[in-house]
Symmetry: C2
Subunit: 135 residues, 2 copies
Amino acid sequence: MDVRNAASSPTRRASPDYFTGTVFQDVINEAPAPARVRALRVSFEPGARTNWHTHPLGQTLHVLSGVGRVQAEGGPLREILPGDTVWISPGEKHWHGAAPGHAMVHLAIQESLDGEQAVWLERVTDDVYNAAPAA
Amino acid sequence: MDVRNAASSPTRRASPDYFTGTVFQDVINEAPAPARVRALRVSFEPGARTNWHTHPLGQTLHVLSGVGRVQAEGGPLREILPGDTVWISPGEKHWHGAAPGHAMVHLAIQESLDGEQAVWLERVTDDVYNAAPAA
């Protein structure tokens, strides 16, 4: 058994190669094999979002605070609020982030496959990001 | 992609077969195969705790509020506080719950193996539960 407090691991800034805007990540745990789950808390400034990307074994998002946006390729732009859970299927191309004018913090839980948690793709353009969310 | 709000799934009371005291569980997600992660929020009243148990692929706990206790078999009783993360190894016999006189809420993240998330064992006696935590 391993017990770690919140001060034991520094907050890291998410790579500008994979995110637009300022995004901070706090790792909750990276379970060693044979487990494969990774859990982190991700804090997006207003306007910040991931690039388009996929996860080999899917991803669970759970909004803790603020107002966010999420979209699967070919699907509607969805507004997400605290308490909302998003399940993204394995290989489903998507993006997520804060809403314009709102910060957002979510948990992100995914499983690595052969050491890979995500496949990063192109940036989310301002036109895509600023579209009106579905009702 | 599936988006669910917090009202879509009712809070359930944890089984008295596996828990002492009043414990509520809110499922965050149960990812479908080939994914295997299950995430939930667990709320313990003061004095409430799990039975001794194990997880086939380990478990990550992350304390959200209150004061709690966790112990692996043969190890010290540990006090846990908000922001603390506990990693329990696959097959490691342990228990967790609120501290005496304090409520506690934690995230629980584990992976199922052949449909099994946990193996439930005997109750945590009052003597074990009320021991002084390690410094």
